[in-house]
Each structure stands twice: as structure tokens, then as C-alpha cells.
Symmetry: C2
């Protein structure tokens, strides 16, 4: 490969695309699955519309590091669990030119983890099932993300990243129900989830309102 003029060893005609990341950041609040959206600030036809948090990868970053930075700077969110979702490479997906986006799933266990003051972009949480019309191809990304989340919650312990450190079994069940969009039998849910051996009884309880206190569980750290 010939060295290009601008000190980048890769010839300029070969690096025609910009690389971006987009994070579909999920949170379950009061039994509703929500996603974090931010206003598009860059000057293009989608300016002002809502989109998943995202942006261009920097030259000294991996995609993951880029996700961390953008969540922090644009979203006010730090240190969350994430995993790669899919790479979108359609030629016309961005009006600014060729932009290939590596999409990620992000998981936050409580909206209070978001430091809204530090977010450089106006953000909003929306129900994952009614995000409205988003910028770019982000509705497609949303669909792929929800599909992946649904399939992963049934055969992995990914739910733990959507729960606070300690939680009741009813809370955990609500998270499953929010994601799968169906209600489950309480006894069967508890039997199954406890038989997986992932949970630990903290031996403490929490009182919510005037009801019987509920036992608090946490995920075992392995």
C-alpha cells in the first residue's frame, strides 16, 4: 500500500468512509423498556431530530472506546455494560457521505446513573416500542437491537445489567416482562430464575409503601 500525503500510511482514495458508532442504550423504568435518544446536533438534514447516541470514531480509539467516550460526553453516562450489535454499511445511510456505523447495545440499570448536567447533547428517554421517527437509519438499528435483546434475555444473564445491585424478584420479573412483552406466571418465574443459580438472597428486605416487605436479591459475582 502506498503512503498518502497526509502522513497516514493508507492511501487517501482507499479510506473513503468515516467510521461511526451508535449505541442503543436500554433502561427499564417502572416496568417499561426505554431507550436513550439524543438530538442530532451536527449540521445535516437530520439536525434536531432524535437519534441513538453516536458519533465518529477517533483515530486513536477502538469502537468500544469510542462508545465509552460518546456515552460519557453526549449522554452523561459512564461505565456501563455494552456489547457489539451489528455493523451498518449501507452506502446511503448518512446524508453527509459514506459513514459506516458499528452499533452497540448499552445497558443502564437506572436512569439516575445518567448525569444529565454532563451530557453535552439534549437527551430523552423514550419507550423502546414507540421511539417515533428517528434520524438516519436509526429506526432499523432500534429494531435490530430490540430483537437481539429479546433473544439474549432468554438464554443469557444479560438482565443483570438492567437491574440495580439489589432488587426484588418482582422487579426482576417486571424487567423480563418489559423486554419480552408478555406477562409471566410468578411462581414459575421464581422457580426457573432461582434454579439457574445466578442469584443470591441478600437476607435483607425492602418495604415499598404499605405492603409486605420483599426479599432483596443480587446477582452472584463470579
Amino acid at each position: 500500500m502506498k503512503k498518502s500525503k497526509d502522513n497516514n500510511p493508507i492511501p487517501v482514495d482507499i479510506r473513503f468512509a468515516a467510521l461511526a458508532v451508535d449505541v442503543v442504550c436500554f433502561c427499564v423504568t417502572e416496568g417499561k423498556l426505554e431507550v436513550l435518544l439524543g438530538e442530532v446536533t451536527s449540521d445535516n438534514t437530520f439536525k434536531g431530530q432524535l437519534a441513538h447516541i453516536g458519533g465518529l470514531i477517533h483515530v486513536d480509539e477502538t469502537a468500544e472506546q469510542s462508545v465509552d467516550r460518546l456515552l460519557r460526553d453526549k449522554g452523561g453516562i459512564q461505565d456501563i455494560y455494552k456489547e457489539q450489535l451489528y455493523t451498518f454499511s449501507e452506502i446511503d445511510r448518512d446524508p453527509r457521505g459514506r459513514v459506516v456505523a458499528v452499533a452497540y447495545l448499552g445497558f443502564i440499570n437506572s436512569k439516575s446513573e445518567q448525569n444529565v448536567e454532563k451530557a453535552k447533547t439534549p437527551t430523552v428517554w423514550k419507550s423502546a416500542y414507540s421511539v417515533g421517527k428517528l434520524a438516519y437509519d436509526h429506526n432499523k438499528i432500534t429494531d435490530v437491537a430490540i430483537e437481539r435483546l429479546r433473544s439474549k434475555i432468554i438464554y443469557t444473564d444479560i438482565a443483570k445489567h438492567l437491574m440495580p445491585k439489589e432488587f426484588t424478584l418482582s422487579d426482576l420479573q417486571k424487567t423480563y416482562e418489559a423486554i419480552l412483552g408478555e406477562s409471566m406466571d410468578k411462581r414459575n418465574f421464581r422457580k426457573r430464575i432461582l434454579s439457574l443459580g445466578l442469584l443470591k438472597d441478600t437476607k435483607r428486605t425492602i418495604k415499598k409503601g404499605v405492603m409486605r416487605p420483599a426479599a432483596l436479591y443480587c446477582f452472584k459475582t463470579q
Copy 2:
């Protein structure tokens, strides 16, 4: 975004990376899981070593289209089923400079589908479990590919892309065993696979050698 000099609307400092695809192309031959490898032809420190079929995405291609072209030109392989695996964005993964690779899984049902004459690169099929030292980060890509293949074969019908149009149940079982690396009970395998309702009995049989002829099945087209 400012327009760059070379008629690309994306500023040149932003498009610092080249985009590549790599395909981990699987085939099961005589009960062995194999992968297609090609010699590295481009002039870098890995020249002459083996790697998965791959190359740079062209400006007018999606990642998928790029995979199709590269499999055809470098591998002599056309019209195969493929799906996206993972995007590798480590900064130093390529000695030529920043190259981000979108990796794919490819599935070929018989090595005879490969037209070796048309392949511009010397290729070789190797056992997936002993590919030896590959160029770039391709050993890592191999590992991720095998892991994905193993998990997908147990909850999807992906095996069909590794089978010829018609096959015996023993052949299908050998494919499962090659991928999962464990032998299975013949009666239980048949019961389970038939109960999925994906297979159709062609009512024809095939004689292999001097043994009892075996019934030929095919996957239902839906």
C-alpha cells in the same frame, strides 16, 4: 462536515481508516469442519501467510457486496449463504495502518462448489480446529467464528447451509457432530431433528458402497 479536496464530502482527516471484510468460510467434508484460507498477497509483513478470504471494501459496495466480490474473485466461490459475525476495530490489528474489518461467516455445502480455476489467490481448506498461525488477527476471528457457529447450530437451522440439497440423516448428524465436537445418539438425534419439522423425506434413497441404502432428506423451502 467540511468538504474535502478530493471530491469526497467527508473531510480527509476524519476518514483515517480503511474498511475491510473477512469471511470465515466453513465447509464440512467427510465429517470434518474445515475453513477456507488464502495466501496473503498484498505486500506487508504477513505476505505469504494464510488468512481468511478478505480485502478492502470498495467505495460503491456495502460490506455484504464486498464479501460476495472477494469470495468470487479471491476464492472462486459464488452465491453462498453468509451472515455478519463481528467487527474488529483494534488499532494495531493491521501492519499497513488503521484497518477496521467487518467479519462474516460463510457457508458452503461442498468444496466442489468452489471453482478453483477462477480463484485469483492460492487457497487451501484446513481443519477449523488446527488452522495454524494465521496472518493479522485472524486466529482471533477464527475463534469467534467457531464459537458463533457452535451456538447457532443448536438453536437455528443454519446447518442447512452446510448440507447439499439432499442428504441422509447420518450425513446431517455428522455435520452436527463435526461442529459441536461430540458424538450424538443416533435415535435421539433423528427424533429431535425430525420433530422440528424442517426436513422433508424425498422418498428417494442413496446407496453408499455395499451397505443398506439410506433415505434422502432435504430441507423444506419456506
